[in-house]
Amino acid sequence: MLLGPALAISALLFSIGVLGVLIRRNAIVLFMCVELMLNAVNLTFVALSRFHGVGGQLMVFFVMAVAAAEAAVGLAIILAVFRHTTSVDLKTNTLLQG
């Protein structure tokens, strides 16, 4: 029924996403890794929706909507930051420092 393989692939994709988030400094790439993790989760939802009904698929639908919103705002923020510091490198962007 492909449940086990689907979950395994999901786990691998998620871990890769984590790895990417941790080792990249480029804000956009980091953002893409977050998308990767979201996709991994989506896979889990879809795989399990075969057993729990169509709700899982709907959840994927919502995740995508959120991802779209997030991408729009997130990229806008990155653009704004870039305009300010001419860099998307997180090492040089420490505006969050308290």
Partner: protein, 658 residues
């Protein structure tokens, strides 16, 4: 014509109306001096007429029972009900006569004395208000009502001492008077609380009735009550250690000194002791303290009076000294003698002050005419004034003889009675012998400084200055007429209570008997008779005459230099001149440390330091420090945040989900 005592409210209402009219004039029509000249003294004469008529009715009817005139209920609070009511009895009537009578004369005198002052209307407003409060004080039927008057006269005294408030010294003197009186008021209030706790009433008549029933004679409680009461009296009547305000109070206009600081207000303490005589009689220890303080004050103030040059200062210390006599009397249990001396003192001391006022008035005009800035009150600048001011001189001479205790002037009888009483009490309580001795010495000193005053002012060469001399002149009639009346009273005042020895019938003694019945029971006093009486009287006359002669001799033996050329004081004279440095001592030991404590320790230290900096800002600082520690974690490195976040998330996963 019989006038009911119910009308006594009129005697208070008239000056009150005068106060309102004069006060309104002072604010909006300060130049309407004619109206003020009429309203100011007229209301008081009206008041005197009311009192005199009631007095006459009382005397003719031989009424001995107190009469309470109820106005309204002031403080109803459960068991405590303080009525705003007046107590008319023989004691208050005597005081009323003095207050309104002497008050009327001084009001008349003021018309002449203050006429040219820009604050004329304000002056009369205050003076009228003072009389209102003084009458409330005398008439109050309970301690709190008396306290209204007690504080009210203090207020007027404060306002009048600082009447010329543009000079800081005057404003200071007024404030000092009020504050020192407040210390006394503290005692007064505590005494009231004690009486309330002990007897459950503050009404004089009820207290007099309940005290013998519920208080142990000579017990701690009654002693405490009377000692605290006496603290109040010491404040108001300028006794040691609270006398310091009275000499400074001479900063006010001279008629004020005569009315408030000689004849009426300062005797309120004596009146209060007489009013609560039953309590003092029940506490022999307190009575001894009262007499002791009185005797000591009489002596102490008299010594300071020896070396003052300001004519009013001499009289001020003389007043303190004479008040000491009165307390010696009431402390001895000779309440009648105390009241008697109060009355005669009101006459001759008012006369002395008004006479001094007349002199100052004249001196002031002289200096004013020549634009000189010499001190118009310094006796060293006077001399030989008897030629320029014969009326004033004669009248002041009468007063001097009266205060020195030369028969047959008024002071002789009252003072002699006090000393005799103290001597007699000495048989029972030895300390009184010492008090008697103090009194005798003080009497000698009194004669001495009065002779010095007269000699420096009226005799010898005139030292005012060649140009100024021409401007010295006698006061106008409106000022001399009251002086004449007071002169007659000072000369003949002794008749009020002429002892049997001189063929009198001790009128005042009998008049006050009903009021003092209880006191006589607890604190009986056997006056000396026969040979002892003769010896004492002889001694008193001898001392008075001796004091006068010595005073005259010492003063006239050396030429007196005007104030501007005088050499500085030296030796013990200097200590006396500086009043034993008591003011300086109070300033250094109490006032200064208290102010420094308040400013440096309490305000800057406790308030701004411990509470604000430590407590309030300390807690804010703590929060800020914790926040700062938090900010150190916020490096701004998103990577670090993510790492930490992941570690935490994984940790939670492993812990929660196994």
């Amino acid at each position: 014509m019989y006038v009911s005592a119910d009308l006594i409210w009129l005697a208070v209402a008239l000056p009150l109306a005068g106060f309102l009219v004069n006060g309104a004039l002072a604010l909006w029509r300060p130049d309407a001096k004619a109206a003020v000249s009429v309203v100011g003294p007229a209301v008081l004469l009206g008041s005197f007429a009311v009192v005199a008529l009631i007095f006459r009715s009382y005397a003719l009817a031989g009424l001995a029972t107190p009469h309470v005139v109820h106005l309204w209920t002031w403080l109803p609070a459960g068991a405590l009900t303080v009525e705003l009511s007046f107590l008319v009895d023989r004691l208050s009537l005597v005081m009323l006569m003095v207050v309104t009578g002497v008050g009327s004369l001084i009001h008349l005198f003021s018309v002449g004395y203050m006429r040219s002052d820009p604050g004329y209307a304000r002056y009369f407003a205050y003076l009228n208000l003072f009389v209102v409060f003084m009458l409330v004080l005398v008439l109050g039927s309970s301690l709190p009502v008396l306290f209204i008057g007690w504080e009210g006269v203090g207020l007027c005294s404060y306002l009048l001492i600082g009447f010329w408030y543009g000079d800081k010294a005057n404003a200071d003197a007024g404030k000092k008077a009020f504050l020192v009186n407040r210390i006394g008021d503290f005692g007064f209030m505590v005494a009231m609380f004690l009486i309330w706790v002990a007897l459950g009433s503050l009404n004089f008549l009820e207290v007099a009735e309940l005290a013998p029933r519920y208080l142990a004679a000579g017990g701690t409680l009654v002693t405490m009550i009377t000692l605290f009461l006496f603290l109040g009296c010491a404040g108001k009547s300028a006794q040691i250690p609270l006398y310091v305000w009275l000499p400074d109070a001479m900063a006010g206009p001279t008629p004020v000194s005569a009315l408030i600081h000689a004849a009426t207000m300062v005797t309120a303490g004596v009146y209060l002791v007489a009013r609560t005589n039953i309590l003092f009689a029940m506490a022999p220890l307190s009575s001894t303290v009262v007499a002791g303080i009185g005797a000591l004050t009489a002596l102490f103030a008299a010594t300071i009076g020896l070396r003052q040059y300001d004519i009013k200062k001499v009289l001020a210390y003389s007043t303190v000294s004479q008040l000491g006599y009165m307390f010696l009397a009431v402390g001895t249990g000779a309440y009648v003698a105390g009241v008697f001396h109060l009355v005669t003192h009101a006459f001759f001391k008012a006369l002395l002050f008004l006479g001094a006022g007349s002199v100052i008035h004249s001196m002031h005009h002289a200096y004013h005419a020549t634009h000189s800035h010499e001190d118009a009150q310094d006796m060293r600048n006077m001399g030989g004034l008897r030629r320029a001011m014969p009326w004033t001189f004669v009248l002041m001479l009468i007063a001097t003889l009266a205060i020195a205790g030369i028969p047959p002037f008024a002071g002789f009888f009252s003072k002699d009675e006090i000393l005799a009483a103290a001597f007699a009490r000495g048989a029972e309580i030895p300390a009184f012998r010492l008090f008697w001795l103090f009194g005798v010495v003080a009497a000698a000193l009194t004669a001495f400084y009065m002779a010095r005053l007269m000699a420096m002012t009226f005799f010898g060469e005139n030292r005012t200055g060649a140009e100024e001399r021409k401007h010295l002149h006698e006061a106008p009639a409106i000022m001399t007429v009251p002086l004449v009346v007071l002169g007659v009273l000072s000369a003949a005042g002794g008749l009020l209570n002429l002892p049997a020895l001189f063929g009198g019938d001790a009128k005042l003694e009998h008049w006050l008997d009903p009021v003092l019945e209880g006191a006589h029971h607890y604190f009986p006093l056997e006056m000396p008779h026969g040979q002892t009486e003769f010896v004492l009287i002889g001694l008193a006359i001898l001392i008075a005459v001796g004091g006068l002669v010595v005073g005259w001799r010492v003063t006239m033996s050396r030429p007196i230099l005007p104030a501007s050329q005088a050499a500085p004081e030296a030796g013990f004279w200097k200590v006396l001149y500086h009043k034993y440095y008591v003011d300086e001592f109070y300033e250094a030991a109490i006032v200064g440390p208290l102010r420094r404590l308040s400013e440096r320790v309490l305000w800057k230290g406790v308030d701004q330091g411990i509470i604000d900096r430590g407590g309030v800002e300390g807690s804010a600082g703590l929060a800020r420090t914790l926040g700062w520690i938090g900010t150190r974690l916020q490096t701004g490195q998103v990577g670090l945040y993510l790492t930490v976040f992941l570690v935490g998330a994984l940790g939670i996963f492993f812990v929660v989900m196994g």
